[in-house]
Structure formats: C-alpha cells, structure tokens
Symmetry: C2
Subunit: 423 residues, 2 copies
Amino acid sequence: MRQTQLFTKTRKEAPKDEVSKNAQLLIRAGFINKEMAGVYAMLPLGLRALNKVSNIIREEMNILGGQELFLTALQDKTAWEKSGRWDDNAYDIWFKTKLKNGTEVGLGTTHEEPLTTLMKNHIRSYKDLPFAVYQIQTKFRNETRAKSGIMRGREFLMKDMYSFSRDLVEHNLFYEKATKAYVKIFERFGLGEKTYMTYSSGGTFSKYSHEFQTVSPAGEDLIYVCDKCHVAVNKEIMADLESSCPVCKSKDLHEEKAIETGNIFTLGEKFSSAAELTYIDEKGEKKNVFMGCYGMGPSRILGTIVETFADEKGIVWPVAVAPFAVHVIEIGGDKTAVREKAQELYKTLSTNNVETIWDDRDLRPGEKFADSDLMGMPLRLVISEKLLATSEFEIKVRSTGETVMIKETELLNWIKNWLQTNK
Amino acid sequence: MRQTQLFTKTRKEAPKDEVSKNAQLLIRAGFINKEMAGVYAMLPLGLRALNKVSNIIREEMNILGGQELFLTALQDKTAWEKSGRWDDNAYDIWFKTKLKNGTEVGLGTTHEEPLTTLMKNHIRSYKDLPFAVYQIQTKFRNETRAKSGIMRGREFLMKDMYSFSRDLVEHNLFYEKATKAYVKIFERFGLGEKTYMTYSSGGTFSKYSHEFQTVSPAGEDLIYVCDKCHVAVNKEIMADLESSCPVCKSKDLHEEKAIETGNIFTLGEKFSSAAELTYIDEKGEKKNVFMGCYGMGPSRILGTIVETFADEKGIVWPVAVAPFAVHVIEIGGDKTAVREKAQELYKTLSTNNVETIWDDRDLRPGEKFADSDLMGMPLRLVISEKLLATSEFEIKVRSTGETVMIKETELLNWIKNWLQTNK
C-alpha cells in the first residue's frame, strides 16, 4: 500500500494516561486507538497484524480438527444461573445490561454455559464424540483496573476452544494434542523460547491446569522456571509442589515475571452436569460429557509480541505477524527517476506476494526513517538518487539494525530468501 | 468435510417461538442456534456462509479503496453527547452498561461518533482527503420486537463504511462509486434482479438517501418500483415525489414488500461539526470534513438469501455463498466399494478446490436426501452400488431439481464448469 493512502499518522507522544509500553507504541505508530482504559480500536495496520495472529491460531486449531463457530456476546442468564456463575459475587467481571422489556442479559466473557446448552441439541450418543469447537470472538471483562494496554482489555479478542469427550481417557488424548498445537503456535510467533508451559492450579477433575506463560518484565504473573525441562510453575501452586519442577523434581527454579498468553484446562463434568449435557454410551447408559477448554487471546498475543521485541526506536515485528514485510522508503521522491524506481520496485515486490508499504510521502528522510523504525516492518528498502547511480539499494533489517547493499537484479530473490529464512 | 465429523445435527422442527422462515430453516439445518429473540450464534455451516457473504463485501470495499479497521463495541458517552445521540429519548435503541467505577458506557450500534473523534488525530490538511474506512463488526440494537430471525437482530454483523471528503463535490464522486459497488455486490449474491436502489428521505446535506431494497414477502418496508428504471421509492417519501419515479417521472409504479439490505447516506457535516473534525484547505482556511456512510449487514444479507431462494424442502444456496459447493451422498456406505469410491471422489473434488461435504453417516437414503435438501448445497452427487455398476453418477441441481447422469471421467470437469457458469 502507498503510505499517502493510509489515513493513519504516527505521533511523537502517546496519551498521557497510557502507561503500558505495548499500547504507547501501537498508538504512536497509528496501529490502534484508545477509546477508554482497556478498550482499543484496531486501525488498519493494527488489524492487519491482529488478523495474522488470529490466522496462525486458526490454522493450528483447524489442523487439530477444531470446528469454527461464532457465539454471541449477549448472554441469556438461564444457563449461567445453573452453573452458579450469574451472581456478581461468584463471578465478578460481568458487564450486564437490559432488554427493553427489563430482562437482564450479560456480555460474554467466556462461553462454557451457552455452548454446553446448545450442545444438548447435537450430542446424543457416544458416536457423536469426541470433537472440539472454537471461535475467535470479542469478549468483555469488567476489569477494575486496565493498565496493561491491549494485554488486558475490558473488550478483547479471544480464541476459545472447547473439547467434548466421552471420558477422561479420551479427553487426555485431545488435551495432549492441544498442548502440542499451543507449543507450535508460540514457535510460529517467535515466542517459543520465552514461553513456558506452566503448571497451575487445577480443579475437581484434574490436579493441574496448564498456562502458557511468556517471560516479560510487563508480565502480571510470577512463575518459577526449570531451564532443563523448559517448563514452569505458577507461584500459586509452588507450595503444593514443594518448590520443585513437576517434571524432573529439580529445585533449581528461578523466578520470572510473565504474561499468561494461553491456558488449557480440564473442565471435566463441571458444566455438562450443570446443564445436563449427556450422551448414551455403548452399554446404553447415560453419562455426562467430559469437557476441556483452551484459551488464547490474539489481542494479548499482539501486545506480548510488541512488549517482547520492541526497542528504543519502536516496534519490531516478527515476519509472521508483520502488517507488511517490506517498508520501501523513497528519498527525494520529487525527482522523477527516484519516484519511478520506487513505484517499479513496489510493484515488483507486491506482484511477487511480498507485502509492501511504500512511503511516498513528501517528508524529510529523517522523519521517514524514524516512522519506519517506529512502525517496525521487518525490512526497510531505501531508494535515493545517490543509490540509483550505483544500481544498488540499501536494505536494513529492523530487528538487528544490520544494513546490506543489494544489486537491483538480486533484490527480489534476496528479500524472498530472507523472509523465508526468518519466518 | 466428512459429515460424521460435523457436530451439528439437523432437526425436524424449529423452536416454537421462531416465526421467521430464515431462522426456522437455518436452525433446522444446524446452521445457527437461537440464544434468545434476535440473538443467534453461528454454527460451523452458518459461519462458512456468513464469511462468504462478508468476504464478497470486503473484496468490493477494498476495490473501492476502503481501509479496513475494527472499532470497539464499548462506547464512551462523551462523543455521543456532543452529537446529541446519547440520550435514550433521542436514540432509543441503546444497550447501556456500567464500568466497575459506575461510569456508564454504551454498546455500539453504529460508529459515526467514535470514528469522527479518532479522525481528529489523523486528518489535518486537504492533502489527507478523501479516503474511506470500513469495518465488518458486531453491532447491538435494543429492538423492542425481534421477529425477523437473523434479518433484524439485537446483535448482528454489520459492514459500515464511512467516507471523508473535502466537500460535497468530492463526496459525490465517491458516493457514486460506492453505489456501483453496492449494485455489483448484490449481483454477486444473486440478488441483483430483486434488489432496487430506492430513494428515501435524506437529511440536511442531501435531498435523498439511497436504500437497497430486496423485494420479498418477508420484508418490513413498502417500496414503489419503477420497472423501466429498475429503481424504487420508499413509501416514506412517495408524497414528496408526487408518486412518480425520480428518474423517468413515470407514475407507473407498483408496490412491493422489501427488505432493506443496504443503505448509503450523505452525512455532510453533521458529525464533523459536532466533533470539530476539521481540515485546513488550500487557502489555509479551516473547514468541516464532509462525510458519508454506507451500511450493509452480512447477517441480514444471509437471512435475505435464505428467504429469497428457499423452497418447501429447505435452503437453496447460491454458489457464491454456499458453505460447500457439492454434497456427496453415499448410499450403502457399509459396502466397501461404495465407501472407497465416495472417499476417492471426495478427495478428488477437495484437492481440486471444489468445497465438498461428504455424508458418510450410517443413515437411510431418504434421511440423507432430506437433510441434503434442507441444507441446500448447490449440487448433490449420489454414489450407490447400483450406480457404481454403470460407472455413472447422479448429480442433482438443488435450485432446479434437474438430475443428470455423468460418467466418472467427466465428473470433475462437469462440476467445475457448472460451478463456474452458475457463480
């Protein structure tokens, strides 16, 4: 896209009340807009990055066999009363509102209750099990404080998957596969090294749940990492585990601040028994369906990526989620030769499926470079009169600052190879 | 997809309180779930169809140059107070709720106010104009009655585009292009013939607004159609027009019930002046930005498509929005040869980008055919032992009931040609 046709502008300062690094940078770069604390609109570049995050998650959920659906925000209280989560004292993050006739309704923060209810129309026999469904959908949480930018929103995007199995044995098979899918997703985001499968408190039906915690100074959680096993323990259950690694039993764990970027949980029969979601087994007996849930928030992931890779100059996007792969900067676009070459390269890259944004604005080089660093596309390609004379172009790698000079004839291949290697 | 792996089941009866044909059929076919009146969850097949509708709209909005963004549901009242639309007496379709600290917030039913506010950060000069942005996003309307299924929801999906121009002249150029894009979109849905650009009441800044009205007995509006010009007049302004066609002046108009499937509106300076959204023109003078809005609801379109094409047996999907193009029905799948051939054809079609659902369930032929008719995929391909012996397969066209026998060697080409021709 041509940058003159992008309506967003960068800005030098974020709003004064914005304390989180992720939102400060995303606002300054024109990726998001702060509507109120914990509520952010996605502007074109932010939406492009967010969609890439969502699509990576979607691909892996589809490989797992997940069937995508889209539940509603407005919640009928009936199902929530059965599970005991309608009461504000039991579940204190509701937004509630009213229909014209006075009926109270809630805004969904999760969907176990309505999903369990609707499954009563579809699950009858053991032959209908197991399966899993998921959605990528807007959730609402009435947070008292919302100071972590897009990492903890009052309104945010969530991928929530739910599995339906006959029993614990069948459930565990899927749970194991889902765990592996989560590991793969974090690797695709470039967060694999910093993200630990973390043992956390379970429930009636399992000893532990599993969080995925990404180590970051911006994290709100404290975890204890076992480097040998690449797993961690949430502070909450350290005492239960006698401060040892649940895998190798080592006591050599170190404390880290971390962001909870995913969680998987064995729900067991908690919601199916409340909603009377049953199936008839091979012997003709009625049994409760055995459930699991698997959460991961694309908007929180986006914030985590910004927090993890940004430097003092701005955002640094990994290739997999960058809104554009290449930022073409023309210097002296008022000169015909520069403008024409920029246009030609922009077209060549775009038609070869290299997503490119071309800064064709009439601004001084320093401003363009500063904006480009702030916006954080993986590669910056500079075209100037001076470089034209040499038939070489300057490519700067945003993440390392490394600069290389590439001949025009080799440009497309060099960029494609680099993007492939660094994906 | 294999139908045994789809969790949804068809049902003989819709819920008793469901009076609209579109929701009755979509619920019976397992495409949607009714959460409460006017609030429907999209199940996997429904979501596939809805995404196809959304993507057709998205493609045409992108061709228009629209920049996609994603605003929030939660609304800060400040901007709405400025425009005079926060007051329930002025604007009576709000859902309102409260933050923990007691601050009242609304759920967005449209987005002129927040968008105009955020544009103050991005529009400065005449050089920044014109442009247009759009989103495909969930809206909330506190409807007193919600009896038209997914055509009038309390929660529904909306594509809303907004244009920002220097003045009326520049605005009209875009408005004209948007009108053409709308006409093209309705043609792609197969609704072109039945959809009329309809003159409706305007506002301070334009004599008329333009609705797109699709003729249907399920419509809630009354329009007067001029067959000669393929335009119509909304009943509201018939008197103003002295009951004549605004194009050819003919008085030969006939009344039709119709569904409002789109609308475009010249907002002018209404919202920019309330929000003080200005730009500096060529002469250095401050001017209000001139705006337009362009609405089209994917969920309402989906309902309209069901209402328009369904017959007594069930839904009939046009190719462009069908969740799957081909429904493979195996008869006698317990026989190895039938099962193997079904699997082979399913694979051949799928790998050749023909979206295929394969009914591999252990059910009687009559049940499978009835479900297939109810679910409404464009082509039904039957594989049975009897047909295997002849090396021919039966294809039935859902929309016409026409049946043809096709040799196996010609099957893929026949199907691809048919889908292309009937797209």
